[in-house]
């Protein structure tokens, strides 16, 4: 993706930028730079008058498309692996690719991300091997990696808990004096619409605000918290909650990778320059189930899903690339082939993941160990050894 900063949002005011207004379109007010039909919108205004625009090269457009297709394909492979009994569970990102790729590509190298358990697309954009989180879902480990090595925290399953971690980390960035320039560090916290009801998320809003933390709250509003629709979580548009906490909020078309990129890049750059937190509500839709254990046909109707299908993030990017003659058919075939090859590679490696040795469950409980645990491990090892040589 972009070297340098061709896609940076600008704050300069220009003539007649477009915003989608609720009254005009029936859609919620949101920032959009690429329509579902694949039409480019030159620039769009946020609720505070910020003008958002991107200026990508053709190669960068192709890169974004490639990302979208790859993360969808890898996600589909993981779903298939679960269906075949190779993963215990999978939380699919289907439908949310643009929000994740747009925001993920907006991160600069030095920025830090705190995901939920569904940010496989952001993980991919961070340059992380997509095999990394699959140990958690296969049940061979607890999903651990070094957040500082990848600038990407471990997945967090307790809803909203990671927003406080992101806030503390961002406070640490400021305490380390790492804000106030282009090289400054920014932090992004991912969460969903359901999480906005959690105390931890609201506490993180308070903390980030009063400490002016360099933090972007990135809420993927995919319309459902398992079965519960947005109406069960809020009476106001989520992005408007930011105002009550004292920082800006903006709603972006989360199925538009360009707008997701522009809005996130702008918010991150504000944060890194010491202008504090902001909230992005990426308005999107969870096309699949909450997880592979869920059955969405019990709580939502087919016509709703079909309406969102028409706003598909990949289809609109494909239409745009085609109309603009940025690519030809061989490009799409080549991307599909790459996605197929990577998903096969992923599958092979998942199947090759070994089950852990039982005694490893005693590892890493404490950095400094524990004599009690050492004793339990020794007893358990001896117990296991008592079966050696006997028929199982």
């Amino acid at each position: 993706m972009a070297k340098g900063d061709p896609g940076a949002a600008t704050r300069s005011k220009r003539a007649a930028p477009r915003t989608k207004r609720a009254a005009a379109t029936g859609e919620p007010e949101l920032v959009q730079l690429l329509t579902p039909e694949g039409e480019r919108i030159e620039s769009a205004l946020g609720p505070d008058g910020t003008e958002y625009r991107v200026d990508f090269t053709d190669e960068e457009y192709r890169g974004l498309y490639r990302d979208l297709v790859l993360v969808r394909k890898l996600d589909a492979e993981a779903t298939a692996l679960q269906r075949q009994g190779e993963l215990g569970l999978w939380a699919s990102l289907l439908g949310q690719e643009a929000a994740q790729v747009g925001s993920g590509r907006a991160l600069r190298t030095q920025d830090m991300a705190f995901p939920t358990y569904r940010e496989h697309g952001v993980l991919y954009c961070r340059g992380i091997d997509p095999i990394m989180p699959l140990g958690l879902f296969r049940g061979v480990d607890q999903g651990g990696w070094d957040p500082n090595e990848f600038k990407f925290n471990m997945y967090t399953i307790v809803i909203g808990a990671q927003t406080l971690h992101a806030t503390g980390y961002a406070m640490g960035v400021a305490m380390d004096g790492k804000t106030g320039s282009d090289e400054g560090e920014a932090v992004i916290a991912y969460f969903g619409d359901g999480a906005t009801s959690q105390g931890d998320v609201n506490e993180s809003f308070v903390w980030a605000s009063v400490f002016n933390a360099p933090l972007v709250f990135f809420c993927q509003n995919n319309q459902y918290a398992i079965s519960e629709p947005l109406e069960r979580q809020t009476r106001v548009p989520l992005y408007q909650r930011a105002g009550g906490f004292g920082f800006p909020g903006v709603r972006v078309d989360g199925n538009d990778v360009l707008a997701s990129y522009a809005v996130t890049r702008h918010a991150l750059d504000n944060a890194r320059h010491g202008q504090g937190p902001s909230l992005i509500e990426a308005y999107t839709y969870r096309m699949g189930a909450h997880t592979t254990s869920d059955d969405p046909t019990r709580y939502r109707i087919a016509s709703e899903v079909e309406a969102w299908q028409a706003k598909d993030p990949i289809a609109r990017m494909k239409a745009f690339l085609t109309k603009q003659q940025i690519v030809d058919d061989s490009f799409f075939a080549e991307v599909d082939e790459q996605a197929r090859a990577e998903s096969v590679h992923l599958r092979e490696r998942v199947l090759a993941m070994p089950d852990p040795e039982p005694v490893t469950m005693f590892d890493h409980v404490y950095p400094n160990g524990s004599p009690e645990l050492d004793e339990q491990r020794a007893q358990f090892t001896k117990y296991l050894e008592s079966f050696e040589g006997s028929a199982h």
């Binding site: 705190f114 480990d141 607890q142 999903g143 651990g144 990696w145 070094d146 957040p147 500082n148 090595e149 925290n153 471990m154 967090t156 307790v158 808990a161 927003t163 406080l164 971690h165 992101a166 806030t167 503390g168 980390y169 961002a170 406070m171 640490g172 960035v173 305490m175 380390d176 105390g199 931890d200 506490e203 993180s204 308070v206 903390w207 009063v210 590892d363 890493h364 409980v365 404490y366 950095p367 400094n368 524990s370 004599p371 009690e372 645990l373």
Partner: protein, 329 residues
């Protein structure tokens, strides 16, 4: 060697000051810990001397205190969080149990959360509800956390520094009703020479029965031992100090000599630390015991109104009564 007589509160303050001096990554955070110096003044003067980036007055939300401290720890800081009172720790329970305790495990050792969670705990100060509880069992039951408690000023001074220096997440319980009790503290002794953090210690040697106690009950047990001695009975008092992991080495050695054991704590008896301790002593010292291990604890009620807390809390007489019963078996 500079030995001063300090209250437990002042000793803790001196230990925190030393930790802030020794490591620039140490930050203190909590409600009212800054200008006010904490409601018990344990952080008195620290913000003035180290600044509001090292001693942080936080918004009033306990989950936020612990959750943001997790992020600071990932960033490389060593947060020392103050929870104002025992009964206010529960909003932070999820962050402590599901996040702080499990990060190192989940990350297969790649993430360390070197956090200390200081909690003034226990009763005896005539407080309103939620200000007198003993929540140690909740945390001792959670793998990934260590739990310690100090009983005297010297331990307060050393143990808080040892806890901050440790990479393990540690719940540090401070017996609030003992904050004003004085004792000698060696301020200049190197931390490396201090008594180990995760080790119990014989607080008073004896030969006839063993009394195990920790935190605020060590004083009570020692008073009971003094009274028993007047009646010609020598009690050995062991200050457990570390509740997770438990160090019962000294207790086993003692019980094998005395054959009698009483465990004392303020927390309710049902599934309290005393239950685990009694089970382990029974396993380890079965053939030495002259009577079952007895427990003297708070009752299985919510912490009662202040005017009856003296009856709720184990005192010298209840300890001696239990000791008597071990002899009557």
């Amino acid at each position: 060697m500079a030995t001063e007589t300090l209250t437990l509160g002042k000793a803790l303050n001196a230990g925190l000051r030393k930790a802030l001096e020794n490591d620039p990554k140490v930050v203190i955070m909590g409600e009212d810990v800054g200008k006010l110096g904490g409601v018990f003044r344990i952080t008195d003067g620290l913000q003035k001397d180290f600044g509001d980036q090292r001693v942080i007055d936080t918004p009033l939300a306990e989950s936020g205190i612990i959750g943001t401290a997790v992020g600071l720890a990932i960033r490389g800081f060593r947060p020392v969080c103050e929870i104002q009172f025992d009964g206010f720790v529960y909003p932070a329970y999820d962050q402590i149990v599901s996040q702080v305790a499990k990060m190192h495990y989940r990350s297969q050792g790649k993430v360390r959360i070197p956090m200390v969670i200081r909690i003034p705990y226990g009763g005896g100060i005539g407080a309103v509800e939620h200000h007198s509880e003993s929540p140690e069992a909740y945390f001792a039951h959670t793998a990934g956390l260590k739990v310690v408690t100090c009983a005297n000023p010297q331990d307060g001074y050393s143990m808080i520094q040892q806890a901050i220096a440790s990479d393990d997440p540690i719940v540090f319980l401070e017996p609030k009703r003992r904050y004003w009790e004085k004792g000698p503290v060696e301020l200049d002794a190197p931390l490396g020479e201090a008594y180990p953090l995760h080790a119990a210690r014989v607080a008073r040697p004896g030969t006839d029965a063993t009394v195990l106690a920790y935190g605020p009950m060590v004083r009570t047990a020692l008073d009971a031992a003094t009274a028993a001695a007047e009646d010609g009975r020598e009690l050995e008092v062991v200050d457990l100090r570390t509740l997770s992991p438990l160090d019962l080495t000294a207790a086993y050695e003692s019980v094998k000599r005395t054959g009698r054991c009483v465990v004392v704590h303020e927390a309710p008896g049902n599934l309290g630390l005393g239950s685990e301790i009694a089970a382990r002593i029974t396993e380890e010292c079965f053939y030495s015991l002259e009577s079952p291990v007895l427990r003297v604890t708070g009752f299985d009620t919510p912490y009662p109104a202040a005017r009856v807390e003296e009856e709720y809390l184990p005192d010298l007489d209840r300890v001696l009564d239990a000791v008597d019963r071990t002899f009557g078996w």
